[in-house]
């Protein structure tokens, strides 16, 4: 367990955490404001990655491609809201789960039809490729640092919008008590449409940032969706702060245990062969154990948004 590896894996964990935050933020706002469980949030992340792949290839410019992808992701989110989500606000969670589950099936298969089943690659823009020396003998890819940086910037921007603007105030109020906000004369449906479209765009942005690192393929959003749910359940549903803390926690725990669980088990006295068998299993399960433990002691998460 060298310190070099520890630094690199910590950065990787941060990077995963930031991506998770981008997805979880939209998810938790949608849930907080409209009490709506959107399983299709993960496919919006996937859609963002596919759109980035397509537009970057078309325009030949990474940044123009990303901008077009974001606009299209926003449009797709609004179309989904009008076509499906809006009919389900007043229904119970079960029907929301079911309908958005249907959306996952549809969109996962839809991208296969449009773009083929083979994974796509998105090149890293030349200005952000290569590695940078962050300490003695520690080289780290610039692009991954860019992911961390842009994710933190979005987090800061989101914080400012939610904490300082009028729309942000309405969002916070909606997340705390939507019926009350509605009774005070705010068009909660329009507010939700804004939140939903914005959430879809955040997920799409995460997809764009992830596209050059991970391969772009159908179903890529499914596992991330589950991780994002873990994040918001740990953080407390409807809470942006909870999503941020939860995302970094999950990103770090998952990444670090994946690289060090075997070593840790060995240090604790297990035989090498046992450690090699049990380590990966514990690593895969760690965040679910974390979530179950958090829920056991705090059934509404670390930062409950609602009393």
């Amino acid at each position: 367990m060298s310190s070099t590896l520890l630094i690199i894996q910590t950065l990787n964990g941060l990077q995963l955490g930031v991506l998770l935050f981008l997805i979880a933020a939209g998810l938790t706002l949608v849930f907080g404001v409209m009490d709506f469980i959107n399983l299709a949030h993960g496919v919006q992340y996937m859609l963002g990655a596919y759109l980035a792949a397509m537009f970057v290839a078309w325009t030949g410019s990474f940044f123009i491609g990303i901008a077009l992808a974001l606009i299209t992701a926003l449009a797709c989110g609004l179309v989904l809201e009008v076509a499906v989500m809006r009919h389900l606000y007043d229904r119970d969670h079960l029907e929301q789960v079911l309908a958005t589950f249907g959306l996952i099936l549809f969109l996962n298969e839809g991208v296969k039809i449009v773009w083929g089943a083979a994974p796509l690659q998105v090149p890293i823009p030349p200005s952000l490729s290569g590695t940078i020396r962050i300490a003695d003998g520690v080289l780290y890819p610039v692009w991954r640092l860019a992911i961390i940086g842009s994710g933190l910037a979005v987090a800061l921007g989101l914080y400012l919008v939610v904490a300082k603007t009028r729309v942000g105030m309405l969002i916070r109020a909606g997340a705390t008590n939507a019926p009350m906000v509605s009774a005070l004369g705010v068009d909660i449906r329009r507010l939700f449409m804004i939140v939903f479209g914005f959430g879809a765009m955040l997920a799409g942005f995460a997809g764009c940032m992830a596209a050059p690192v991970f391969s772009v393929e159908p179903g890529m959003g499914d596992n991330l969706l589950i991780l994002a749910f873990v994040v918001i359940v740990i953080g407390g549903i409807g809470s942006i702060r909870g999503a941020f803390v939860g995302a970094l926690l999950v990103g770090l725990v998952d990444t670090l245990l994946r690289s060090f669980s075997v070593d840790l088990l060995r240090l604790s006295g297990l035989s090498p062969s046992d450690a090699r068998t049990i380590g990966p299993a514990i690593a895969s399960m760690s965040i679910y154990i974390l979530m179950a433990a958090v829920l056991f002691f705090r059934p509404t998460g670390l930062f409950p948004a609602k009393g």
């Binding site: 399983l39 969670h93 249907g102 099936l105 399960m285 979530m291 179950a292």
Partner: protein, 323 residues
Amino acid sequence: MAETPAPAALPATPPLWRRIWLPVVVFALLALVPFVWSERFILGLVSRAMIMAIGALSLDLILGYGALVSFGHAAFLGIGAYAVAILFSHDIVDASIAFPVAILAGALFALVTGAISLKTRGVYFIMITLAFGQMAYFTATSLSAYGGDDGLRMFHRSEVFGTRILANDTAFYFVVLGTLVLCFLLLKAIVGSRFGRVLRGAKENERRMRALGFDPFRYRLAAYVIAGAVCALSGALFANLGMFVAPAYMTWQRSGEFIAMVVLGGMGTLIGPIIGGIGVTLVEEWLAALTQHWKVIFGPMVILVAIFARGGVVKLLERGGGK
């Protein structure tokens, strides 16, 4: 935050046709299948559909009668299947041992995870059951001694007291059908008993049940354990059907499919999930024969049902067929 509300309550005593005639017709049609189509493919397909129906039926006990949206139900299917296949790989091939072990394993997993999950409510319950489902899935993928990701093959079906009667597809079909009918009757008895009434009462009004001196937690936990055990039994049959188990049996998507089966069929009716389980499996198969991209058609079907067909097939029959 609102708790996941119960669906529009179905009448306390369902009409006679739904209580008696619909199940009789469904089971009679299933019993006729081997005499009409004896092809291996059809027998295997309908066997699989009935096995899924048992799983959906077990989910309905907690979902339809307890309003507990479990999103990790596929774990029980996988645990039952793995129990049989793992015992098989250790040369314990008789169903008289393997099936009870599978049921016990499912019940035990349900007891432990249920005791933790049932402390939460609503969306947190959905998520924590999902988490336990994922844990089971990742455990299976890391069982390198038992195939890991690739799964585990059985060389033949379980023996029944030393005979290989299950190797015959028709015999296996009727065993599956018999299990389905037995599970249906068992759950029907449970739902109709005092226990079932407390469970339904806790769904309608938890506070009132507490005031009456019942502890809803214990009833829900008992229901959760029964559901887990029954679903594990379907898993044991599932392992035998294809003579193969794999972690893919317990993906969260399959848990979603179970929910879809219950809702499409009509939850809280027992016969509904059976119709839903069989219907979904057959529709999937039919669409898959039409196009490899069948999910593009199936997905919107699920969405439409979620939006429009509240109460599922049974409710539709009720509207169409009169009371």
